[in-house]
């Protein structure tokens, strides 16, 4: 497979983490324009971990996830009472604050005679852990997809449990959930932290794929796009956001026919699609139908 195709597939995988993060919050009833901040936190944390502190990648990813969860919790706590556009704007403001903080963040160490580390707007280059171990592009893609698959398995399992049902209920009707004894605030915070960790994991893997990150990578466009992928793909299942990502990055990126017109085509398609399917492609009704068909088939 050629370098370009590998790159596109890896990007689809990486973006999926962010889209899943937005999806998780949506299922819990909140629309966030700010998941890209945790993607960035994960990227910087993991980059610092491997490039400056000599941590192995798996450990750096765990650290990144912890920091992402903490950051998400910090943002989630003051915004618990907010809904709809209020919550969305609050997350946007928080994410932009994180991005500006990345711009102001300078932390360098001299390694092998060269300065390494985040340098404000100049970015953070030299995240070479993957290169230094001779890990080829195909191998890294396999790693990303494996981690993504593990995440999807967790989603699939949790969907069937009481926890999954509780989260969906909190999303659909929080008053009812509260009446039934669910601590809505605690569930929302937990979901926010999990979504933050998920985004951070994606960011950590992104940083090591790219070897170079800068604050501008984590701007509003990234966040709004990932939210859109989740909404277009559908909120019925975790495969919805993946579908959204694959549609944009996969289909249109690779069809070079649309070069230069890609956004026009994609934008028009999405707007038209939403008229036909306002709840996204794989919304709850479709997923239920598929699930029933599968059950009938196997029964």
């Amino acid at each position: 497979m050629d370098e370009y195709a590998l790159g596109v597939l890896t990007n689809i995988g990486l973006f999926s983490f962010l889209a899943l993060s937005a999806y998780l919050l949506l299922v819990a009833g909140e629309m966030s324009f700010g998941q890209q901040a945790f993607f960035g936190v994960g990227a910087y944390a993991a980059g610092i971990g491997t490039a400056m502190w000599g941590l192995p990648l798996p450990v750096a990813c765990v650290v990144a996830m912890a920091l992402g969860a903490a950051a998400a919790w910090l943002v989630g706590l003051p915004t618990l009472r907010l809904r709809g556009l209020y919550f969305a704007m609050a997350t946007l403001a928080a994410a932009e604050m994180f991005r500006i903080l990345f711009e102001l963040f300078h932390y360098q160490r001299t390694i092998d005679g060269e300065p390494v580390g985040p340098d404000g707007t100049q970015g953070f280059r030299g995240i070479r852990w993957v290169l230094e171990r001779g890990i080829e592009q195909e191998t890294y893609l396999a790693i990303v997809l494996t981690v993504l698959a593990a995440v999807l398995v967790v989603f699939a399992v949790l969907e069937r449990t009481r926890l999954g049902a509780t989260v969906r209920m909190v999303g659909e009707d929080p008053e009812l959930a509260a009446v039934l004894g669910v601590n809505v605030d605690r569930v929302k915070l937990a979901v926010a932290a999990a979504a933050g960790a998920l985004a951070a994991l994606g960011g950590a893997l992104y940083a090591h794929h790219n070897t170079y990150i800068e604050p501008r990578n984590f701007d509003i466009m990234l966040g709004v796009h990932s939210l859109a992928y989740a909404l277009i793909g559908g909120l019925g299942t975790a495969f919805g956001p993946l579908l959204g990502v694959a549609l944009d990055i996969g289909l249109l990126e690779s069809t070079r026919v649309f070069r230069g017109y890609r956004m026009i085509v994609f934008g028009g398609l999405v707007a038209a699609l939403l008229i036909w399917r306002p709840r996204g492609l794989l919304d709850e009704t479709v997923v239920n139908r598929i699930a029933r068909a599968l059950r009938r088939g196997s029964a």
């Binding site: 790159g7 990648l57 852990w129 501008r216």
Partner: protein
């Protein structure tokens, strides 16, 4: 047997980097077609400054904001006249600041990202 494999795996994961760093200079000149540029790349060993010959170099580009939206398909660079020199023709999607990504394979392996501003004439 399995214990030694585990040990190797742990060492491989935790081993500090054996640096194969290269440094690169890139200079892109506009051609008579809009948004098409001829780039000359110099690749040398980071420590010694010795030019790196016989490497496989490919040049890709990405816009820093919205990292995956305007990706340019990587092109393989051809060796130039001087040792360590390579040339590639790239086609961008729009003007602005691009992060050029030089992937080096062969005698050394590295990825270098250089940011360049491409302005209309």
């Amino acid at each position: 047997m399995s214990r030694s494999l585990l040990a190797i795996a742990l060492v491989a994961l935790a081993a500090p980097a054996f640096a194969q760093r290269v440094a690169a200079d890139i200079d892109c000149k506009p051609t008579k077609h809009d948004l098409v540029y001829d780039c000359r790349i110099q690749i040398r060993q980071a420590r010694s400054g010795e030019p790196v010959t016989g490497a496989e170099v490919s040049v890709g580009a990405d816009m820093p904001s919205m990292p995956m939206a305007h990706q340019v398909k990587p092109v393989k660079a051809k060796p130039g006249t001087a040792p360590g020199e390579y040339a590639a023709r790239i086609e961008l999607e729009m003007y602005g600041e691009w992060a050029l990504r030089l992937t080096v394979r062969g005698p050394v392996r590295d990825v270098i990202v250089k940011k360049l501003e491409f302005r209309e004439r």
